[in-house]
Symmetry: none
DNA sequence: CGGCGCCGATTGGTTGACCATTCGGGGTGA
DNA sequence: TCACCCCGAATGGTCAACCAATCGGCGCCG
């Protein structure tokens, strides 16, 4: 399993709405926000800095890099942004519908207790998300942990690309007004159903719950063309 | 690369004569060797670990990863070769089992007559392939056309990555003796079944045929590990 | 009134001690 | 004699305190 903090930080940045060159909260604040110690957060920041995504300056703060293309990152980032330009939201959701139910099924077999605990935490956090963008970050993380729990590194990599494309596409239709999801948002209970199936190690139920979740999200996208 | 410690660590590893899987000195020793503090060394180790070059185990030590990580291109090819190193043949086949039946179902709805004709040509050509490697090329093309016929550019891109990884993995275990598939090779009829379902626009049958095809290939891989 | 400089708050960076995990060796009992 | 268990050393992981650099405001002085 990979570094959970790094994953959370990546998704927080995505959900934060920060643009290139913007300043991140201080390490101490960000650690509190993510619920991790400063040292643990620091480990993730070091990796992002080495990838070229961040710039850290003593006495000033931590900034998102100005360059869009990481010079020596994993290379997957460039492919993602490239794909995002020729992909629509509907295609992205349909691709998720193909991949993620199967990932959920595998995750039901292979998820570790730590991963299940993390999913539980995220499920609760999403219910009280104050803004849509913070919700998006948590949601991305939820699905990514399921992908990593599936135990197939290749499928996980494909899902990461897919999720990256989806995040870019979602960004495009983010409105400035951002009140956050209302308490009755359909995804809350759907996430709960997925998580419950994973905890029961019921692969078929997990797969079905994931499919239902994505289909209801897709339906919401097509009926209310907010984007 | 601006981090001097990281550079020194990389060079030390190269000059150390250590092989894959070997254990590095402890953080405290290595810090003394390189003349840096443990924290500073640790920063470099974190980066190398995130890059996949190291594995660190509490209570045991720090080890060179089994796979090396040479420099890579930045495009999709680099991502493919990167993924191929951390993916086994079984994982690759399982990923195909997730993706390709769904692609076949979509292709049954959306394939153009020209695509069906091309698939027909490939199916015939594969039956008379003189060598395994030429057969592999035709087979890759067959599956890639189905992916493109599905009509979802994102899924097609994912499949292209998947197919790239599979080709690398398959090549690895190619023997020098290469008589080509014998006339009774199971895939011939399975390809025919897929193509037939596509021509009938029968999505369910196409999906089932594709799944059966991949499963029989996976079974052949697991029973006769020679390839 | 304007420029200069100091001072403190804030930031990322560093340090040393401490914690959790793993492994192996020696003692103990069957 | 062998198996088991326990304990201590070694290892990577974590933490809280402290350091150095930076910036902004305030006051002093020209």
């Amino acid at each position: 399993m990979q570094d959970m903090t790094l994953m959370r930080l990546r998704n927080w940045i995505v959900g934060s709405g920060l643009a290139r060159g913007d300043r991140l909260p201080s390490e101490r604040e960000l650690g509190t926000l993510l619920g991790v110690s400063r040292a643990e957060l620091r480990k993730a920041l070091i990796v992002l800095e080495a990838e070229g995504g961040l710039e850290r300056l003593v006495g000033r703060g931590t900034f998102l890099a100005k360059q869009s293309r990481p010079a020596r990152g994993s290379g997957i980032e460039g492919v993602i942004s490239e794909l995002a330009e020729s992909t629509g939201p509907i295609d992205a959701m349909n691709a998720r519908l193909v991949l993620e139910p199967e990932l959920a099924q595998l995750a039901a077999l292979n998820a570790t207790p730590a991963q299940l605990r993390e999913l539980r935490r995220l499920s609760n956090a999403m219910r009280v998300a104050a803004t849509w963008s913070s919700y998006e970050g948590l949601d991305s993380e939820f699905h990514e942990i399921i992908a990593s729990a599936a135990g197939n590194s290749l499928l996980q990599a494909l899902h990461r690309m897919l999720n990256g494309v989806r995040q870019i596409v979602v960004w495009r239709r983010l409105e400035t007004s951002d009140p956050g999801p209302d308490p009755g948002y359909h995804s809350f209970d759907e996430h709960e159903a997925i998580l419950s199936a994973l905890e029961r190690r019921d692969g078929a139920a997990a797969s079905a719950a994931m499919r239902a979740h994505l289909q209801s999200t897709l339906a919401a996208m097509t009926t209310s063309p907010a984007g």
